[in-house]
Symmetry: C2
Subunit: 395 residues, 2 copies
């Protein structure tokens, strides 16, 4: 039984980094200590003595005393450089950067195999919910049917304020930012990018398949309006931003990140505020629901802590499904039922509905509900944010 003392070189000292520092002080039995912190801004006032900080990344990579690199920085390119360099230098690394992972995970898996060094990132995928670890270790069989969830705390917080407290979108967004739930760029959260990147990572561990984020539809809530909220209420539903990877046949999976009209009998209907909720569905175990705090420095800090203590036991992801099971292929050849609210009739021409089931017209706004192929939706995904429309999936 090993329990190596962990000496950490940390990159980034923002909300999560500071949260981690506090968490580590409390978790004395973790035998983990931050010995050096690399930051960029020399002028920023810091809460720790100057000696612990460095501005030179190599100070960390070349320090023989440091056996774990933890990187908690926003910039995906810089994050990639750190993780890559770290693995090459033979140092295990913990990362919380979902964007970086969503784009580079394939290469980083191979680099881990080549160097024999480990990269852990449970913290990246769902705040404090141990989704990756559970998919990797517990649902490590081919009975999995789907993983669906609310993966972004800030957009869910905004939706809760809108639905439960009748606040406007802008007011709700501001409140999320004031509380520190929204990340540096709100687009990342509210337009579904954060959820998308997490879904890409989850899919690797759920079905062994890497899907490029650019190939998946992601649409967020920044265009949500009064009419959409009214429509949701009339149908007895709430709008939630859902990320979904589902098996649709023996060798095919499909992915999407879309606002969704969720009926009250679904677990995720009750996931409110900054919380995340994930439903794991399997052939025999029916449904598992995991629920926890998805945003904020402490919860994320404590999930980084789990990655850190896992390293003290030499834990590494084995990518079991990727390496051992039948490869599942990503497809968009699947129909979904979509709601499109618009003002300008020309905007609906964008959507190749196979069948229309509902139509409403008024001077102020109109909407159409119909069946559309996911492939057709992916094809126009870059066009969607430019239009004065809102789209959402019928559950």
């Amino acid at each position: 039984m090993k329990n190596n003392a962990i000496r950490i070189g940390l990159f980034g000292f923002g909300t999560v980094g500071e949260g981690l520092y506090e968490v580590l002080k409390k978790a004395t039995s973790a035998h983990a200590e931050i010995v050096k912190i690399c930051v960029r801004d020399r002028n920023k006032k810091r809460s720790l003595p100057a000696e612990i900080f460095t501005y030179e990344p190599e100070d960390i990579f070349t320090d023989p005393d440091i056996n774990l690199v933890v990187e908690l920085i926003d910039d995906a390119d810089a994050s990639y450089a750190i993780v890559h360099r770290s693995l090459e230098a033979g140092k295990a690394v913990v990362s919380g950067n979902k964007k970086m992972l969503a784009y580079h995970i394939e290469e980083l898996i191979e680099l881990q195999e080549k160097t024999g060094t480990a990269l852990l990132y449970d913290a990246s995928a769902c705040g404090s919910i141990p989704v990756i670890r559970n998919l990797e270790e517990y649902y490590d069989n081919d009975l999995l049917l789907s993983v669906k969830g609310i993966l972004n705390g800030s957009s869910n917080f905004i939706l809760s304020k809108i639905f439960n407290e009748n606040k406007g979108y802008d007011e709700a967004l501001k409140e999320a930012q004031d509380l520190g739930f929204a990340e540096s760029n709100p687009t990342f959260d509210v337009d579904g990018f954060d959820s998308l990147f997490k879904l890409i990572i989850i899919t690797v561990h759920a079905f062994g398949t890497y899907v490029h984020p650019d190939d998946v539809i992601n649409y967020g809530i920044s265009n949500l309006g009064e009419a959409d909220i009214r429509y949701a209420r009339e149908k007895g539903t709430r709008i939630k931003l859902l990320a979904d990877v589902s098996k649709i046949s023996d060798d095919k999976i499909t992915l999407c990140v879309l606002p969704c009209f969720v009926p009250p009998d679904k677990y995720i209907y009750s996931v409110e505020d900054e919380f995340n909720g994930v439903v794991i569905k399997g052939e025999c175990y029916d449904k598992q629901f995991m629920f926890g705090r998805g945003a904020g420095g402490f919860p994320t800090g404590s999930s980084v802590l789990s990655d850190i203590t896992a390293r003290s036991h030499d834990y590494r992801y084995e990518y079991k499904k990727r390496n051992q099971y039948r490869k599942m292929e990503y497809t968009t050849d699947v129909d979904i039922k979509l709601y499109v609210r618009y003002r300008d009739e020309a905007d609906t021409a964008l959507f190749r509905f196979k069948e229309v089931t509902e139509r409403y017209y008024s001077k102020d706004y109109s909407f159409v509900v119909g069946v559309i192929s996911l492939a057709d939706l992916v094809a126009i995904k870059d066009e969607l944010p430019k239009r004065n429309i809102f789209i959402a999936k019928m559950y």
Copy 2:
């Protein structure tokens, strides 16, 4: 990366055993096969060909072709004998018998260490929710504050029928039995023994402490009456059978299994029917909620499958908290607020209330609510089932 083929010798072929057999047929990539099944009853009609069955346990222990023993039998003594023999014979073993584990886990941990063989039992603790594995691997630090939950599917099913469909206790119990949710002896479920045994196992992995089941209060729902349901409704609560292990100071934990008046703002309030729900609370990550199917052959079968595939990767519990962290001591020196409904005034003499906060008297029944030391409650625990009373904890 290892993925050894698993050849299973199975003990017991009841609901869960048959469920497992079906699950394994579907989970083809698990590379696990049941090669021999040891059963007791020679006359029972079986759904599989006779060749696979044996009546002689040694046929399994001495078969060099079998590398994993799975035991899914009700009888705790027989289960103990199998697990003990199996570890001594150097064969890893998966067990689902919570009673056996609750009484023998200390010795079996030592036997694992001595023989270098592994015993896994995630299936024992919470149906399909991966509680043990998460406590062991993910919450493997000293930030944990409490683990609380609805751990018994059948009693929760009964409570749901009573509260949501206004059924009587007997009617609800019969329905649970008809649906196969109640185990062979209903006392085990409805009087809180099943929850207690699971709590003992969870406590070992949550806080590293073994507490003898006889030292912990467990009281169930079999005496629940109209008046109690009315009282719960008046307070806007639901009665749930809750198992709870909580840290109360730096080196002390306390345990109890009691019906509890749960207010609507608690996650477990919404755990209905045969489902289980567990709330894991920590110093930094606040609350995690896990939810899943707790009773029935398939869900349990699939969690046994997770134990089996874990063995194909040579997984074993490391009992990290037991071996590496500061030992937490069990105490009953803690006050709780208790509701006692009674008819005979003499029965209340049993309870040494430190303070009474509510009292009601009528010809038909009376109740008292007050503060009592858990130690005093444990002292009278064997007396409680003999009286015409019902007790429940205020949340």
